[in-house]
């Protein structure tokens, strides 16, 4: 997917002016956080599980090479195949070759953020292979030619009416010429249309939430059941997963599953959690004849051992964006690439370059709500600050900001000068603001006064001046 992260500020303007998006976001802000809170309260061990989830991921990352090799060994032992893809281009090539090897015309895809990351659909289409998104949200945005706006709820920016229009436009040729008004009718129509596509697909492509080294299994967590149809009906199952998805054992999976669903949707458990291990076995009545796992690096191995390593713990639950007031104001598309919200603000500069995505780690108040809900306790604000430091070092910070900061720090490091200047500023601001108590506009503060009044200081001087003069009360 082509990044528009550089146009973040324009994207924000568009997002704030979109009433449908704002309606959807209003709902998201209350719904997800409230459901997560209730789910966490129902499980007294939740905080202890978060600690353990963090530790498991840290342990795995410290031994990532070992667990990947172990995973591979187990997959091979059960008749599966493992492909190593250092870059996005490698992964695209591997998958295209696999599809062509079985003469695939269509690929049933279940939602995979990694597939978005490597822009797989565009690549397959160019080769004449039709990828069919089967997750309802992904299906809707595929019809609309839009990118996902949320990592677990890709169509969360749309209203029911927008979905109804989209279905009418695209399903008419299949004989559905009535515009639907009820959600359950929309779901039923999509189910019907997609069912046939599942039955016809030559290849099923899924992501993976976890890869279990102990057993060589890929683990998928979904609610719809589409991933399971994708890995059961077609004759080839391809799992596309990034290398940090591997975990050691099934016991570790149990811990991670307990925090994943609760953090993501506030469910006790998602409807389907599936472990796939190798191809169909002798005597099985269904299942794929071939089972392939594509392990994608795409820059992740280079993040290990750096100050950004913690982001590799991410289990893609979406809680950070559900609780982010910036995401809540502008939605996912504004971030301009695959991964939005706080985790995107950390990951996107890594994957598309900090020049392209320089705004993302800056567009945060560091309110810390993301870190407070992250199931694997990623210190997201700290990582965003690291990006700001790198930008500053590389002179990517906007010139006006740099100059303002330089001036401020010159003064701030000279207490005498600082006192003098603040005394003057205080006097001027309080004098001219005396009558109203505030300003409707101020030179150099347009960013503030465009939307807010600026409170004027009361008369009497700065605190330090008054204190020095021996006052005990303003």
């Amino acid at each position: 997917m082509q990044s528009t992260a550089h146009a973040f500020k324009d994207n924000v303007g568009t997002a704030l002016a979109d009433p449908n998006l704002q309606d959807s976001l209003a709902k998201l802000k209350v719904g997800f956080s409230e459901r997560r809170r209730q789910a966490a309260e129902r499980l007294p061990e939740f905080e202890a599980l978060r600690d353990r989830a963090r530790d498991i991921k840290n342990h795995t990352l410290a031994n990532l090479d070992f667990y990947l090799e172990e995973f591979e060994r187990k997959v091979l032992a059960l008749g599966g195949h493992v492909h190593w893809a250092p870059t996005a281009a490698d992964a695209r090539r591997i998958i295209a070759d696999l599809c062509r090897s079985v003469g695939a015309k269509t690929v049933a895809k279940s939602k995979s953020m990694v597939a978005e990351e490597i822009a797989l659909n565009e690549h397959l289409e160019a080769l004449g292979i039709a990828p069919i998104e089967t997750d309802l949200g992904e299906y809707i945005i595929q019809l609309r030619h839009e990118p996902p706006s949320h990592i677990i709820a890709p169509a969360v920016h749309l209203t029911k009416d927008q979905v109804a229009d989209t279905f009418l436009e695209h399903h008419r040729k299949l004989g559905f010429d009535k515009r639907l008004t009820e959600r359950n009718d929309l779901v039923a129509e999509a189910r019907y249309v997609l069912r046939q596509k599942f039955l016809d697909a030559d290849v099923g492509l899924t992501g993976a939430n976890f890869l279990v080294a102990e057993t060589g299994s890929s683990m998928l967590v979904t609610n719809e059941g589409n991933a399971d149809l994708s890995n059961t009906l077609p004759k080839m199952h391809i799992v596309l997963a990034s290398i940090e998805k591997v975990i050691p054992t099934l016991e570790d999976a149990a811990v991670l599953l307990r925090v994943l669903a609760r953090s993501a949707t506030g469910q006790e458990s998602s409807a389907y959690t599936t472990l796939n291990t190798g191809p169909k076995r002798p005597g099985d009545l269904d299942g794929p004849e071939q089972y392939h796992v594509v392990l994608l690096d795409n820059g992740r191995s280079g993040v290990l051992g750096t100050e950004m390593q913690d982001i590799l713990r991410c289990i893609r639950c979406g809680a950070c964006m559900n609780h982010c007031p910036v995401y809540g104001a502008v939605g996912g598309h504004a971030y301009g690439w695959v991964y939005p919200g706080p985790m995107g603000a950390v990951l996107t500069p890594q994957l598309v370059g900090v020049e392209e995505a320089s705004n993302l780690p800056n567009a945060s108040t560091f309110c810390g709500r993301c870190e407070s809900v992250c199931p694997v306790r990623i210190p997201l604000p700290k990582l965003m600050r690291h990006w700001r430091e790198r930008e500053f070092e590389r002179h990517l910070t906007p010139k006006a900001v740099r100059q303002g900061l330089a001036l401020w720090s010159f003064v701030a490091r000279r207490p005498g000068l600082y006192r003098g200047l603040t005394t003057i500023a205080n006097r001027v601001l309080s004098l001219f603001g005396r009558v109203e108590g505030r300003y409707h506009s101020l030179p150099l503060a347009g960013g503030w006064t465009r939307f807010r009044d600026f409170p004027a200081p009361p008369p009497g001087g700065t605190f330090h001046a008054q204190w020095k003069a021996g006052r005990k009360r303003p």
Binding site: F66, E70, A155, T265, E268, A271, T277, L285, D286
Partner: protein, 224 residues
């Protein structure tokens, strides 16, 4: 191909500032793999057997499944009764499993049974379950000749027969049973853990049942 493999693995090692694991470091991870440590104990997964059954039923219903607690002799009757109560057809696709064959289906004259895998237009399926997890009301299905995966997914209605003795506390207990049955390193091709009917919240964050998998799930919990 193998160049790509070593590129990734060596990249990881370079970043971690070490070579291939060896010595104590290797022994530690190997033994962690051989004896997987359990996570924090979840109290509600540690109940006595009878309470586990009750907890399983409670969470299964919380997750929009319906539950009937029956004796073995009543299983076929409850199935036809359930189908009739819900105006569902009496044609079912059934898993060819010894467990299910142990019930007296012949007693249900109206019921027409096809044994095999699921097909795209199946209305109702009947399967057993490898286990039930009390902690969340979750069913565990292990694939094999006696349990085609498609039966869990394609039909509109999924009827599951679960023995009380197969209800365990938490996920960890299921892993134990799987290792016992299939061997430590050998999982069944597919293990589906299923918690209630299929659902989606993709339109306006409102849950609708029956996205791709079954719309309706009925669990028969069978007393021994």
């Amino acid at each position: 191909m193998s160049a790509d493999r070593s590129q990734i693995l060596n990249g990881i090692r370079r970043s971690l500032q070490r070579g291939e694991l060896a010595g104590d470091g290797l022994k530690d991870v190997q033994s962690r793999l051989a004896q997987p440590p359990r996570g924090p104990t979840v109290a509600r997964a540690q109940l006595a057997p009878a309470d586990k059954v009750a907890l399983f039923c409670q969470w299964a219903e919380f997750n929009n499944a319906s539950v009937a607690r029956v004796s073995a002799a009543d299983v076929p009757g409850e199935v036809t009764g359930f189908l009739a109560r819900n105006n569902l057809p009496a044609n079912v696709a059934m898993a060819p499993s010894p467990l299910l064959e142990g019930y007296d289906w012949a007693s249900q004259k109206m019921l027409s049974i096809r044994r095999g895998r699921g097909e795209g237009d199946d209305q109702v399926s009947i399967t057993g379950a490898f286990a039930g997890i009390a902690e969340t009301g979750t069913l565990v299905m292990a694939s094999g000749p006696d349990h085609p995966v498609s039966l869990n997914l394609l039909p509109d209605t999924h009827v599951v027969v679960l023995r009380e003795a197969d209800i365990v506390g938490g996920y960890e207990d299921v892993w134990g049973r799987l290792r016992e049955r299939y061997g430590k390193d050998r999982m069944p091709r597919t293990v589906n853990t299923i918690t209630g009917p299929s659902r989606t919240g993709d339109i306006e964050q409102t849950i609708e049942l029956g996205a791709h998998g079954p719309r309706r799930m009925h669990i028969l919990v069978v007393r021994e």
